[in-house]
């Protein structure tokens, strides 16, 4: 595996992106940064700006209005960038599948690497999902 990717996996900076969620998944993601489920021991830091981000944590079912902003943000993230979809709304719009405001699910808009199901997923599930992401990237390249 290339040296660049090895360094990326040992210090992934996460950026939290909510495309119209009910904020439950956002609270669970924020829980991961608290002392009980500390993720700084894996080198993860919360990035303030999209240009410092390595991993995008996307929550929420994509509204029509937030789809354009999310596409612009995804283009601004410097490559290599990984995308993690958290919660049922980000996987397949969940219960908003027939809603007038959510036409397409997330993975038809931007390529997603790991899906973490749950409504909301527990912090243990989020950490397990990120570990699976690291193992997937390691085994693929």
């Amino acid at each position: 595996m290339s040296f660049k990717l090895k360094a990326l996996l040992r210090s992934p900076w996460v950026f939290h992106l909510s495309t119209g969620s009910c904020n439950n998944c956002d609270i669970e993601v924020l829980d991961c940064l608290t002392p009980r489920f500390d993720i700084e021991r894996f080198g993860m830091l919360l990035a303030g700006s999209i240009k410092h981000a390595d991993v995008l944590l996307v929550t929420g079912s994509c509204n029509r209005k937030s789809v354009e902003r999310m596409k612009r943000l995804y283009e601004q993230a410097p490559r290599p960038c990984l995308v993690v979809a958290i919660g049922e709304c980000a996987l397949s719009r969940g219960m908003f599948m027939h809603s007038y405001n959510c036409p397409v699910p997330l993975d038809k808009i931007i390529p997603v690497d790991v899906y973490i199901p749950g409504c909301p997923p527990k912090p243990e599930a989020i950490i397990a999902g990120v570990v699976k992401l690291i193992e997937k990237v390691k085994s693929k390249k």
């Binding site: 509204n63 029509r64 209005k65 397949s92 599948m97 027939h98 405001n101 036409p103 397409v104």
Partner: protein
């Protein structure tokens, strides 16, 4: 003023505007009024009785449309909802922005989602729907049909 005094005042003053009073519980009252007398009732409740305008709700009940205006009396722990029934072929009512400013955005939202026309509203443009949404299609109506061909409505499994 106690709760009974408030209700008696309203019944006496708007004798011919009130259609029905539904006294549901000690802190919840529904009063049906005629659409034409909305502004006078709202002015009286807001200025003289000093209630707080909470929110307005628009409902599409298959054969007509209703708008409920919720006013709260905080000291009495009372919420009064004024219900207005609009026929489907003439969906217009006077705007309450001349009485208080809090009705501005909720009337914009009701206009773009249900198609109710508010006469006298200063600025009736789009609030929540995106720019690509076509004009004249109101999503919260009973007879709304999907207009977007590119929408994916199954889970793909």
């Amino acid at each position: 003023m106690t709760r009974e005094e408030v209700l008696k005042n309203l019944k006496n003053r708007f004798k011919d505007d009130i259609i029905e009073v539904f006294d549901k519980s000690s802190n919840r009252v529904y009063i049906d009024i005629k659409p034409g007398s909305l502004v006078s009732v709202a002015t009286y409740v807001f200025n003289d009785l000093e209630a707080r305008f909470n929110i307005a709700t628009g409902v599409d009940v298959r054969y007509h449309m209703e708008i409920l205006y919720h006013f709260t009396f905080e000291d009495l722990n009372l919420l009064i909802s004024f219900r207005v029934k609009l026929p489907k072929d003439k969906l217009e009512i006077e705007s309450l922005t001349s009485v208080f400013e809090g009705a501005d955005w909720i009337e914009r939202e009701m206009h773009e989602l249900l198609g109710i026309d508010f006469k006298g509203h200063p600025d009736l443009r789009r609030l929540l729907l995106s720019e690509e949404w076509p004009e004249g299609v109101y999503p919260l109506r009973c007879d709304y049909k999907e207009w977007d061909e590119k929408a994916i409505r199954d889970r793909g499994v």
